[in-house]
């Protein structure tokens, strides 16, 4: 590999932030699936998973923004500003950079709708959030095909690892949906699960006279 000089710095910056961006986006998708299925991470309560999903999303956006900005500024290949958001108009690798633009547009839609979520109907927000399942594979193909970085060595292992992890999370989501607790029983199930933590527990027993029964 050649040394980093003032002419190659932007190019390296773009590639590095691209790789880290992909890694973070994979993490965001996995955390999003965990949030959706009320999944837990060791040592974290489930609401902390939601917070993590949000924070990592914003971090990923930061890396993707730097990745895109450095790619455009970098004089080594000329990428028009329009090609950043309009797919398949780039003079350089139109297809693979076009996929990047598609992914960027989808991610922008996800972030914007989440930031203004309080003003949207749940259905609209949810519908747009499903686009995450399109944004991630498109970003993966863009990353893999745009440059040679990810096709060998440790980066290849990283790419395969990300793919397996996201695919695994998706399969887990489907399985988890299939065995989900019916809505009306959810609170009772949590109550029963937490009861053994309570030493005295007398008040938590369902048979207590005059008290509501969990059944």
């Amino acid at each position: 590999m050649s040394a980093i000089t003032h002419t190659t710095a932007l190019w390296y910056a773009s590639r590095a932030t691209g790789v880290v961006g992909l890694l973070l986006l994979s993490l965001v998708v996995i955390l999003g699936i965990l949030v959706n299925r009320q999944g837990r991470l060791p040592g974290l309560p489930s609401f902390a998973v939601t917070g993590l999903h949000r924070s990592v999303s914003l971090l990923a956006v930061l890396f993707v923004a730097v990745h895109v900005a450095t790619a455009v500024i970098d004089p080594f290949v000329s990428i028009a500003v329009a090609a950043v958001v309009i797919p398949f108009v780039s003079a350089y690798k139109p297809l693979w950079l076009g996929l990047g633009a598609v992914s960027l547009d989808l991610i922008a839609a996800l972030i914007v709708t989440s930031l203004i979520r309080a003003h949207l109907s749940r259905r609209v927000w949810r519908g747009i959030h499903w686009l995450a399942y399109a944004a991630w594979p498109v970003a993966l193909v863009h990353s893999f095909m745009s440059g040679p970085d990810l096709r060998s060595g440790g980066f290849l292992a990283l790419t395969v690892g990300c793919t397996l992890a996201v695919a695994g999370a998706a399969v887990w989501r489907l399985a988890s949906t299939a065995r989900q607790v019916p809505r009306a029983e959810r609170a009772a199930v949590t109550l029963i699960r937490t009861r053994h933590h309570s030493r005295s527990g007398e008040l938590a027993r369902p048979a207590r006279a005059g008290d509501g029964g969990a059944r």
Binding site: A187, S198, S200
Partner: protein
């Protein structure tokens, strides 16, 4: 004053509790309730009030409601005229108007009592509100399978036969759930679905029953509206305080176990309503807050006084905790009930509330695990504001007030002592929880 029907649950064959259990003597009450605890039929209603005073110009009633300062009596105390004005001026198909008589709060009995004793005042208010917002579709949302339900069917039929109503009233079944009366749950149930709270937006006022704009008003608010339409804002404001005018219905739970519904004025000292001293006073029901007994003695039943203390008038529930009960044990029972009434839709609610209930049960026991209180405080911060409806927020309000007011009791439990010498439950709770989706229908 606080005259009015003082009664247990409404129902034929049940004699109301003795009158005169409350001190006082202010003119002009009761307004909504009959002076004698006898239900007012259509004949007596028309003799007393005359037919509903329909207006040519619907805006006039809205202006009068604004001048009267009527606020919603379902708990949120939102200005009634603003809801009606938004509905009357909004675009799109004609709105739907629903009277909300689903009183899911187990400690409250005032809406059932009002519908039992003065159904025609509520039905008048429903018609007048519908007229004011130009709605031809009117519903009344009440718990099914009760004698009250049958009486309302008969009252509506009687009015239809007399040709009193401009719009036909449809009775809508409310399931016996704590959250059934939540506005979006009502809209969902009235559309034929389950009475589950929905995420907002859209609010029911934007897209409610069958996708139409929907005005939801508590039945007591409608009864006040029917009287303001007849006697005007000046009359309405002749009782109460300038900030919170008019009368209101309150459900009182005395420390001796006696329960009653009274009509009182906003601003009435709590000490005139409850027989104090008491160990503590629960204000605003199960989404309300505990107040220390001696503090409650000095307070009026008014939001201006209660809100700075983290409490509110809410739907007018006041309960005096007897000296021989443990406030922590009572709160633990209630929070467990509230947790099981979660609709199971939002993670913070159906995961957080049962955990809080368990931790509170731990605190209510002897020598609780030391981390129980810290857990409760942490979870309170994590579930508040995180649901589709205000169920987590209301539950957190109750829990936080209990930790505050019963701090000395927590200390006693840590040393193996407890104030409670009676294990008999005090605050009323229903026996049943939902077991499947059908229990929300």
């Amino acid at each position: 004053m606080t005259r009015g029907a003082t009664l247990p649950r409404p129902g034929p064959g049940q004699r109301p509790a003795a009158e005169g259990t409350l001190p006082g003597g202010r003119r002009g009450l009761p307004r909504l309730m009959p002076a004698e605890p006898v239900p007012i039929g259509l004949q007596a209603h028309l003799e007393r009030f005359g037919p509903p005073p329909y207006r040519g110009a619907p805006r006039r009633l809205i202006g009068e409601l604004e001048a009267a300062g009527l606020t919603g009596r379902g708990g949120a105390a939102f200005p009634t005229h603003r809801k009606l004005a938004a509905m009357a001026t909004g675009r799109g198909p004609a709105p739907v108007v629903i009277g909300n008589g689903a009183e899911g709060e187990p400690a409250s009995n005032k809406d059932k009592s009002l519908l039992w004793f003065s159904p025609h005042l509520v039905l008048d208010g429903l018609q007048l509100a519908a007229g004011a917002v130009g709605s031809p579709t009117v519903g009344l949302y009440v718990h099914r399978n009760s004698q009250l339900y049958d009486r309302l069917v008969a009252a509506i039929a009687e009015r239809a036969a007399a040709g009193l109503d401009a719009a036909g009233v449809e009775l809508i079944d409310a399931p016996p759930r704590f959250l059934a009366g939540e506005e979006s749950a009502l809209a969902s149930r009235a559309s034929g679905g389950l009475a589950l709270p929905r995420f907002k937006p859209p609010r029911a006022s934007q897209r409610g029953v069958a996708g139409r704009r929907t005005l939801v008003q508590n039945v007591e608010t409608l009864a006040h509206l029917a009287l303001i339409a007849r006697y005007g804002p000046g009359w309405f404001r002749s009782v109460g305080t300038p900030d919170e005018p008019g009368s209101m219905l309150a459900t009182l739970h005395q420390a001796d176990g006696q329960m009653g519904v009274v009509e009182t004025t906003l601003g009435t000292p709590i000490a005139e309503l409850l027989r104090l001293p008491a160990q503590a006073v629960l204000a605003g029901g199960y989404h309300g807050a505990w107040l220390p007994g001696e503090q409650a003695e000095a307070l009026p039943l008014a939001n201006t006084a209660l809100r700075p203390l983290g409490a509110a008038v809410g739907a007018g529930v006041l309960a005096a905790l007897p000296a021989d009960r443990c406030g922590l044990a009572e709160t633990a029972r209630v929070v467990r009930y509230l947790a099981l009434e979660s609709a199971g839709q939002c993670g913070p609610c159906f995961n957080g509330l049962p955990r809080m209930a368990s931790a509170l049960a731990e605190l209510a026991g002897p020598r609780p695990a030391p981390q129980a209180q810290a857990d409760l405080e942490r979870w309170s911060g994590l579930v508040a504001g995180r649901g589709a409806c205000h169920h987590p927020d209301g539950t957190v309000r109750l829990v936080r007030s209990a930790l505050r007011v019963f701090a000395a009791e927590i200390d006693r439990h840590a040393h193996g002592y407890c104030t409670g010498t009676s294990s008999r439950p005090f605050l009323p709770l229903p026996a049943e929880a939902a077991i499947d989706d059908e229990d929300w229908r």
